[in-house]
């Protein structure tokens, strides 16, 4: 409503000034957001890389450390099960990402391309099930796995975590496939390609931003999951980092430095995934409109 007054063409403020102002505002807001996001991360890193001697020297938290050390990480690796927890996290996450993405691609494609009765209803039900809090799913899942004799195995953790990520993954993939015109496939069919061949040669390459987004999303769910794993696993040797870190923090020799070092280890993979795949992520959530 103020556009005619101060902004937009013909406003009171000249265009050049408007552009400069909006650039300044953009950077100011960016800097503010960055400050909020980076402060805790900086604290984590700075504590993780200091020895206890320098950490509280002078009674205050040292924000600019005189020397850096990797001792905290060494302690974690040598005296705790960090490495084993990390491997468990990797096993559960990689399997869950693979499972969730495959499910999403297959279901999304089927929902888009096949005449399934009440498919909009099905798709909505899938999305709705994502709205349900994980803890509501956890107890029935516990009972199911108990009956099946699957408790306390990787497979139950993988399935439970996938149950959390799959609904949204399927919904996202369904949306993405709807944006791929069927004409590409028809063109492939008319030239002799079977349905599978057309999917492999044409649909999957075009859907790459979609399924990579789905993979990133299910990675984030699986890597950070605490609830489901906690419920279905009781054997400590199967714990991933999220649940395992609890046990590590209880050890008497674990101080602030080691805690932050462990958090740093937990945070690193998601950071790397986001950093390297962010282009795909943007394209994927755009649902193909922004290309």
């Amino acid at each position: 409503m103020f556009e005619r007054l101060v902004g937009g063409p013909g406003g009171l403020v000249p265009n050049a000034v408007q552009q400069r102002l909006s650039a300044v505002a953009l950077y100011a807001i960016g800097a503010l957001v960055l400050l909020f996001v980076l402060t805790p991360i900086y604290l984590m890193v700075v504590v993780a890389l200091q020895s206890p001697q320098t950490l509280f020297s002078g009674g205050e938290l040292t924000l600019i450390p005189p020397t850096l050390t990797l001792n905290n990480f060494v302690t974690l690796v040598e005296q705790t099960s960090t490495v084993s927890y990390f491997l468990n996290s990797v096993i559960i996450t990689v399997s869950s990402v693979f499972l969730s993405t495959t499910l999403a691609v297959v279901s999304g494609y089927s929902l888009t391309r096949f005449d399934i009765s009440a498919k909009t209803l099905v798709a909505r039900a899938v999305l709705f099930s994502y709205m349900v809090s994980p803890i509501v799913l956890a107890i029935p899942l516990y009972v199911i796995f108990f009956r099946l004799g699957l408790l306390n195995q990787y497979v139950s953790a993988i399935l439970a975590v996938t149950a959390i990520s799959a609904p949204f993954s399927i919904w996202l993939m369904w949306q993405y496939f709807q944006n791929i015109p069927i004409a590409y496939e028809e063109s492939a069919w008319a030239r002799g390609a079977s349905r599978w061949r057309a999917v492999r040669d044409v649909v999957l390459p075009l859907a790459r931003p979609g399924y990579i987004s789905v993979a990133i999303f299910s990675f984030a769910v699986a890597w950070n999951d605490y609830t489901m794993v906690k419920v279905v696993l009781s054997d400590e040797s199967l714990y991933p980092l999220t649940v395992g870190s609890e046990l590590i923090f209880q050890e008497v020799f674990i101080g602030w430095g080691e805690q932050m070092a462990l958090l740093f280890i937990i945070s690193l993979p998601p950071f790397l995934v986001a950093a390297f795949l962010q282009n795909y992520l943007m394209q994927g959530f755009n649902l193909g409109h922004g290309e």
Partner: protein, 363 residues
């Protein structure tokens, strides 16, 4: 031995729920012909083409290629190639890969494939574009690449679904020539769907004019133009459109003002007849059948002029094409006329009244 196939449609019907998209069409498309299916949007022409391709299954009816029943054969196994309206080049493949995709599917070795692709590219003048991806090409170049796909596959039947609807006029002219050249070079039956009657008229051996899911008339362009079966055909085919003027009928004659048209015996019970005048056959100054009109607008088209006019008594629109407008200006009241042999008579419901022995409207 690859040879053009004759296509026979037998009682072809497609229903979506209660909507009838294609209604009981039986059609014989001779082998090797260039056949256009033309009609306004929603007339079922694309559905018909997609059923020929096998992308849709008819609710009722059969389709035969030569004498082989193809009704239940999947699109992959029909000996045809298809050019799509939205071109449908695979955006993630280079043009070379796009053109060669069908050959690759059929297991042709790369060296042979490349040779065919290069030949096709040379013929279609897209050699420089082969290593680019489709998004780097203009619309016209993309459609040439799409034609290249059909070219290398050497199909028995080539289906074209409004391939030029997104292109500009100059490109359309170039591609029209390209389609006809392709038709000469490939031993294939062409089925070309379009809403543009001009494309259909200029390229086809035969035209099927569709209306509301049925084929209203099937014939060569001259027949469709000079001997339409209905008012719908007469007004749909030809530019400018055929003028329709209502005449009162009283038994043997249909009258309007001072002019009259003798009615054939079978039309003697009609109360009103609709008379169709092709703008090209109307002459300022009158003729055997005359109408008084007011000139509204004169459009120069180079050699020809299109004169848009309205009838004096009931303001029906009437266009005529003429080469001399030196005596005409907007607002003039003139008498235009046509030879009796050049007018069409239609019943009130649009069906053609063909004259028997006694009429003067025989063609």
């Amino acid at each position: 031995m690859i040879m053009a196939k004759a296509i026979t449609l037998d009682g072809f019907t497609k229903r979506y729920g209660t909507m009838v998209a294609v209604d009981d069409i039986s059609l014989d498309i001779p082998a090797g012909e260039f056949v256009s299916i033309v009609g306004p949007s929603g007339s079922g022409k694309t559905t018909l083409l997609r059923m020929i391709a096998g992308l849709e299954t008819p609710t009722v009816g059969r389709i035969l290629f030569d004498d082989k029943d193809m009704t239940t054969v999947s699109p992959q196994d029909r000996p045809l190639s298809m050019v799509f309206q939205n071109i449908a080049l695979f955006p993630h493949m280079t043009c070379r890969e796009n053109v060669g995709y069908g050959l690759k599917i059929h297991g042709m070795p790369k060296a042979e494939r490349d040779q065919l692709i290069d030949e096709a590219a040379k013929s279609l003048q897209i050699e420089d574009q082969l290593e680019k991806v489709p998004s780097e090409l203009s619309g016209g170049q993309q459609q040439r690449v799409a034609l290249g796909r059909a070219f290398v596959e050497d199909p028995d039947v080539l289906l074209l679904d409004e391939p030029m609807s997104d292109l500009d006029a100059k490109l359309k002219e170039d591609l029209r020539i390209e389609f006809q050249r392709l038709h000469r070079e490939l031993d294939a039956t062409f089925v070309y769907v379009t809403h543009d009657q001009r494309e259909a008229m200029t390229m086809s051996d035969e035209i099927a004019v569709m209306r509301k899911g049925t084929v209203e008339q099937f014939g060569d362009p001259e027949t469709i133009f000079h001997d339409p079966d209905s008012e719908y055909i007469a007004t749909f085919i030809g530019t400018p459109s055929t003028n329709i003027i209502e005449f009162d009928a009283d038994g043997e004659l249909a009258r309007r003002g001072t002019t009259s048209v003798p009615l054939p015996a079978e039309a003697r019970d009609e109360e009103r007849v609709r008379v169709g005048f092709r703008p090209q056959y109307l002459r300022a100054g009158g003729g055997e059948v005359e109408v008084d009109v007011l000139v509204d607008v004169i459009e120069p088209l180079g050699v020809d002029y299109v004169v848009h006019a309205t009838t004096v008594d009931d303001s029906s629109r009437l266009d005529l094409v003429t080469t001399d407008v030196s005596k005409l200006s907007p607002g003039d009241k003139i008498t235009v006329g046509s030879r009796l042999a050049d007018v069409f008579l239609f019943r009130a419901d649009g069906r053609r009244i063909r004259s028997g022995a006694e009429g003067g409207v025989d063609l």
